[in-house]
Amino acid sequence: TDTFNYAIYHTLEEIYGFIDMLVAEYPQLVSKLQIGNTYEGRPIYVLKFSTGGDNRPAIWIDTGIHSREWVTQASGVWFAKKIAQDYGQDAALTSILDSMDIFLEIVTNPDGFAFTLSKNRLWRKTRSITAGSLCVGVDPNRNWDAGFGLAGASSSPCSQTYYGKFANSEVEVKSIVDFVKNHGNIKAFISIHSYSQLLLYPYGYTTESAADQAELDQLAESAVKALSSLYGTHFKYGSIIDTIYQASGSSIDWAYNQGIKYSYTFELRDTGSYGFLLPASQIVPTAQETWLALQTIMEYTLNHLY
């Protein structure tokens, strides 16, 4: 993985091949878990970074739940290599991994991602078939059991924000829900999207403030400051509903309601006018700056276990 090209976009097969290489190169630290199969039968893989212990407090990071947001899967690949190579080198990361595990799901919507590579680069949703509709797919970030079906998502199967027949109807979502519930000791849940340079925390489905709003806001401020320190990329931060719009059924609202206090959504670059079609030349800078914010959140979680 030292010669893997992190500065271009890769296919699903290339990313899965990278994952296997990383596991082979760092067998003491990295393992590959399969948490389920997608609607179309593809395996859903999660990388586990662990230095031992049993069911340690852990951090969950996912990228690519919206398949067209390619810079997020590409950043996930970069994060995976960064974690593996920095353990034992970087003091901050080493102290995190000496006490906690990190779970990283790089391709969180494999069917959708495969579809962006083969048929429609701008596909966002899953690829499940909705009986009675010509339209395909559910928005996997409106399908979680937190304010499910409320305002901030659509009941129309043809909409980009269709929430699905019922909460967790999408196996890509249900697999994470089951994994997180079975693990029972996840302390931070970070879901990475693009674009519009935001760091968001609960809630999206209600104007009610999260019980830990002040702390989440303060940590978001620190994380955004760390991110901006590298290339000056400007991020805004705040609760989903205050910062962008009402969005129901989102993953971090569900995680927060599960008691996972440090639940955040990133919206990464584009800083210019490319949107989801961010040039590959910006993958590494985007991943590098985001990593500084992730480290801030992970270190804070380590120092404020609950």
Partner: protein, 97 residues
């Protein structure tokens, strides 16, 4: 494979809540096949929407009629996609050799 020739991405700047509402009305017109890359949010944050070629005229007339400002963020979506594809395949070709 879905073709995006002639599709444009418009960056809409809404001045107030009334204009956000107007743009939200557009979102409901399914026949326009609009794809909101950044949906109507708080005033002050831009709205980015991909507009298929067939709907471009209607959408631009609608925005101009309601005095809603926009710029063309992406002139032709397909040309950006072609660049991206070329780069990916160039790498794969090198990797194969």
């Amino acid at each position: 494979k879905e073709d995006f020739v002639g599709h444009q991405v418009l960056r809409i700047s809404v001045a107030d809540e009334a204009q956000v509402q107007k743009v939200t009305e557009l979102e409901e017109l399914e026949h326009l096949q609009l794809d909101f890359w950044r949906g109507p949010a708080q005033t002050g944050s831009p709205i980015d929407v991909r507009v298929p070629f067939a709907s471009l005229q209607a959408v631009k007339v609608f925005l101009e009629t309601h005095g809603i400002e926009y710029t063309i963020m992406i002139e032709d979506v397909q040309s950006l996609l072609d660049e991206e594809q070329e780069q990916m395949f160039a790498f794969q070709a090198r990797a194969a050799s």
